[in-house]
Amino acid sequence: TQTVSQSDAHVTVFEGDSVELRCNYSYGGSIYLSWYIQHHGRGLQFLLKYYSGNPVVQGVNGFKAEFSKSDSSFHLRKASVHWSDSAVYFCAVSATQGGRALIFGTGTTVSVSP
């Protein structure tokens, strides 16, 4: 069974700061990893995903994430945040064999102050 953990429940940054959101996973087989964003009162929106190849994945709105097999991690980063980046960010994992269920972490709430 695959699991995913997000160690930070809440992160507060100032507009223009960089931010890193941590995601660690555990699974014995091959997986794919993704990040989703949820603005208040809305559904989740896809940011980026990693399946194979280049471990650094570029997503929308300046987000990128780096896969590390040795660290079992898929951390999300943005160099300069905007107030509109305030949202909850979910890391997700799915096994490449067997089921297709996307399993989400507990989420990290990002608050961007002006």
Partner: protein
């Protein structure tokens, strides 16, 4: 971009009643999902559905839950009877069937279910 529509956005019912949550997935998508979120907490997988069948379900998908998608209509989640602990926001999602596993899910805005 592609949109998943969920109707209604909010539903209030009495415990023990039946409720049906409706989802209109992206038109050419073939794989459908329901997730449950209790007020700002984790998105919990309930079930996924393909080609008229439940493919996977979690332990949260109790016997009182059922899903279906009659041809050309909504993908529905039915709860009968409802319990207080069913109060949550239910999100529908869909994805295309490309044969691979690294697919993107498209989510609706959710239906907030309140069981009194």
């Amino acid at each position: 971009g592609p949109k998943v529509l969920q109707i209604p956005s909010h539903q209030i019912i009495d415990m023990g009643q039946m409720v049906t949550l409706n989802c209109d997935p992206v038109s050419n998508h073939l794989y459908f999902y329901w997730y449950k979120q209790i007020l700002g907490q984790q998105m919990e997988f309930l079930v996924n559905f393909y080609n008229g069948k439940v493919m996977e379900k979690s332990k949260l998908f109790k016997d009182q839950f059922s899903v279906e998608r009659p041809d050309g209509s909504y993908f529905t989640l039915k709860i009968q009877p409802t319990a207080l602990e069913d109060s949550a926001v239910y999100f529908c999602a869909s994805s295309p069937w490309g044969g691979g596993r690294a697919e993107t899910l498209y989510f609706g805005s959710g239906t907030r279910l309140t069981v009194l």
